[in-house]
C-alpha cells in the first residue's frame, strides 16, 4: 500500500445510462510517470478526471468504486475537495492560461490558498517557472500578458501554474496534442525531470510518446483497463492480444 500513490478499486463511471468506465482496478506508483494509452473515446481522459474529481462538474455523471490517494478514498463523502485539488494538479489538452500577466497566472494558486506576502509570491513564481523550464525565457517580462506567449510556452506556463501550489501529483491530459514537434520535445523533456518530484499520470494519443516518457503504461479499450505494466514490457511483450494489435497499429 505504501508504494502506491493511487490505488483504484472497481471504479465504475456512468454518463446517464452510458457505462463509460467499467470496473477499473489499478495502482499508480509514486514519483514515476504512468502513461494511459488507447484509442480515442475509450475513457482515458474520463479516468484521469476521476483522480481529482473534476468529473463532479459534469451533470448526470455517477461514480462508483474507490479511489485511494495515500490510503484515503477521495470519493468518501465529506472529502475536502479544495485540498484534494491542491494535492492533485492538472494540465489540460489545450494551453489555457488566464487572460492575465504571466506572474499573475503562476501566483493565482498560491494566492487562493492564502499566500499574500509579495516576497514569498515572487519566490514561488520563480521556482515554479524554473520547474517548468520557462524561467529564463520570461524572467524579464513577467508582467506581460500570458496570451502573448507561444503555444508551447503557454503550456509550460500552465505546468508552472499547476506546480506553484506544490502538488504531489500532476495529471496531464494529452498535454502536447495541440503543440508542434519542437514544443512537444521540450515538454517531454520536462516530464522526465518532473518525475523526480511528482507523481505524473499522462494521457496520450501518441504511443511513441508513452514509450519515451513513461515508466508504467496502462492500456484502455472501450472503458475497460485491459492491461498495465512496465512500459518496456507492454511495448515489447504485451500479454493481451488486443494490446498487441493496438501497439502494432492494427487499429487505432
Amino acid at each position: 500500500m505504501e508504494s502506491r500513490k493511487f490505488s483504484v478499486e472497481n471504479l465504475n463511471l456512468f454518463y446517464g445510462e452510458n457505462h463509460a468506465l467499467k470496473d477499473i482496478t489499478l495502482p499508480v506508483s509514486p514519483k514515476a510517470v504512468t502513461a494511459l494509452i488507447g484509442p480515442s473515446g475509450c475513457g482515458k481522459s474520463t479516468f484521469l478526471r476521476c483522480l481529482n474529481r473534476m468529473n463532479d462538474f459534469i451533470h448526470d455523471c455517477t461514480v462508483r468504486g474507490k479511489v485511494y490517494l495515500d490510503g484515503s478514498d477521495i470519493y468518501e463523502p465529506g472529502t475536502d475537495l479544495i485540498t484534494l485539488r491542491r494535492r492533485v494538479g492538472m494540465v489540460f489538452q489545450r494551453p489555457n492560461p488566464f487572460p492575465m500577466s504571466i506572474y499573475e497566472n503562476v501566483a493565482y494558486g498560491p494566492r487562493l490558498h492564502g499566500v499574500t506576502n509579495r516576497g514569498k509570491l515572487d519566490k514561488i513564481v520563480e521556482s515554479s517557472l524554473n520547474g517548468a523550464a520557462l524561467w529564463n525565457e520570461v524572467r524579464d517580462k513577467l508582467n506581460t500578458p500570458a496570451l502573448s506567449l507561444s503555444g508551447g510556452q503557454q503550456q509550460r506556463l500552465c505546468i508552472a501554474r499547476a506546480i506553484a501550489v506544490e502538488p504531489e501529483v500532476l495529471l496531464m491530459d494529452e498535454p502536447t496534442s495541440a503543440l508542434d514537434p519542437m514544443a512537444t520535445a521540450k515538454i517531454e523533456e520536462l516530464i522526465r525531470e518532473l518525475r523526480d518530484r511528482y507523481t505524473v499520470v499522462i494521457v496520450t494519443h501518441n504511443m511513441q510518446q508513452a514509450a519515451r516518457v513513461s515508466d508504467t503504461t496502462v492500456f484502455f479499450l472501450i472503458g475497460e483497463m485491459l492491461e498495465f505494466g512496465p512500459t518496456q514490457e507492454i511495448f515489447t511483450s504485451p500479454k493481451d492480444k488486443r494490446t498487441e494489435d493496438y501497439i502494432t497499429g492494427r487499429f487505432g
Partner: protein
C-alpha cells in the same frame, strides 16, 4: 460568370439604395435637430444656457438647461446605482449557477421584461409608489427622483442582465476548469477569473443600460414630478430633459423660442446617448483585441 455578375448589378444597386436609408435617417435626425436648435443657440449666451432656471413660459422666459441636465443625470445615476449591481448579480446567477433547464425559462422571462411598456411603469409610479411614499415619508409629493429611479432601475435590469450574461457565458469553459483544478471554489473562480475575463462586455452592458436610462421618457414624465429644479434630496421632484420635451412640446407654438429651446434639449440628449453608444462600441472592440 460575366452574365451572373451583370445580372446582379441591378439588384445590388437597388438594395444598397434601400440600405442607405438607414444612414439617411441618422443624418437627417442630426441635421434637423441641429437646424431647429440653431435659433436658440444663436440668441442665447453661454451663461444663460447653463442658467439655473428653466421657466420657459414666464415673461421674460428663462431657458437655463442646467436643471434639466442635472435632472437627467440624477435619475440616470440613481437608477444605475440601484439596478446595475442587481443586474450583474442576476447575470452571474444565470451564467454560473442556474441549472440549464431553469435558465432556458428565466433568460427569456428577463428578455420579455425588457419589452414592458414604459408608460405602464410610469403608471405604477403614480398609483402605487407615490401614494405609498406620501403616506410613509414626510414629503409633499410621491412623484420624485427616487420614485422614477426605482422604476427606471426596473427598465434597465433586463438590458444589462442579458448583455452581461452573454459576456460571462462566452468566457471559455477551459478557464473555469483550470481554476477548479487548482482547488478554487466556484465563488473564487467567478470573482478571480470569469468576471475579470468578461470585464469589457460587462462595461459595455452597463453603458448601454445607462444609455437607455438617459433616453427614457415615460417613466420620468409620469413619476419624477414636474418641477425643473436641481434636486437636493432624493425625494425632490425633477424634470429631466426627456420629460421636459415630452411635457412641453405639445403646448409650444412651432417656431417660438421655447420650441427651439426644446429642440436644443433634444440635441443634448442625442449627443449624450450617442457618446455613450460610441464609448460602448469602442470598449467592445478593444476588448475583442485582448482575447
Amino acid at each position: 460568370m460575366q452574365s451572373a455578375l451583370k445580372g446582379d448589378r441591378a439588384p445590388r444597386i437597388t438594395i444598397s439604395v434601400v440600405a442607405s436609408m438607414g444612414v439617411a435617417i441618422m443624418i437627417f435626425i442630426l441635421f434637423f435637430l441641429v437646424k431647429e436648435s440653431m435659433p436658440f443657440l444663436l440668441r442665447t449666451s453661454i451663461s444663460d444656457l447653463f442658467g439655473l432656471y428653466w421657466y420657459p413660459t414666464y415673461d421674460p422666459a428663462e431657458f437655463g438647461m442646467l436643471p434639466l441636465v442635472v435632472g437627467s443625470l440624477a435619475v440616470t445615476l440613481l437608477s444605475s446605482i440601484l439596478s446595475v449591481p442587481v443586474s450583474i448579480f442576476l447575470a452571474v446567477f444565470l451564467s454560473e449557477i442556474c441549472p440549464g433547464k431553469l435558465r432556458e425559462i428565466l433568460k427569456p422571462v428577463i428578455e420579455i421584461l425588457g419589452f414592458f411598456p414604459s408608460v405602464v411603469l410610469g403608471f405604477l409610479g403614480m398609483v402605487i409608489i407615490a401614494p405609498w411614499m406620501t403616506e410613509h415619508i414626510d414629503i409633499l409629493t410621491g412623484l420624485n427622483l427616487f420614485n422614477a429611479s426605482m422604476l427606471m432601475g426596473i427598465m434597465i435590469v433586463p438590458i444589462v442582465t442579458s448583455l452581461a450574461e452573454d459576456s460571462l457565458s462566452s468566457v471559455a469553459r477551459d478557464m473555469r476548469d483550470a481554476s477548479y483544478a487548482m482547488g478554487a471554489t466556484r465563488l473564487e473562480t467567478i470573482t478571480r477569473v470569469v468576471i475579470p475575463a468578461a470585464l469589457p462586455g460587462l462595461m459595455t452592458a452597463t453603458l448601454l443600460g445607462v444609455m437607455r436610462a438617459v433616453g427614457e421618457t415615460m417613466v420620468v414624465l409620469m413619476a419624477a414630478g414636474g418641477a425643473a429644479i436641481i434636486p437636493v434630496s432624493v425625494f425632490d421632484p425633477v424634470r429631466p430633459l426627456t420629460s421636459a420635451i415630452a411635457a412641453e412640446m405639445g403646448e409650444t407654438p412651432v417656431g417660438s423660442d421655447h420650441y427651439h429651446a426644446l429642440f436644443f434639449a433634444g440635441l443634448l440628449l442625442l449627443l449624450l446617448t450617442l457618446s455613450l453608444n460610441m464609448l460602448a462600441l469602442w470598449i467592445e472592440q478593444r476588448g475583442r483585441k485582448w482575447r
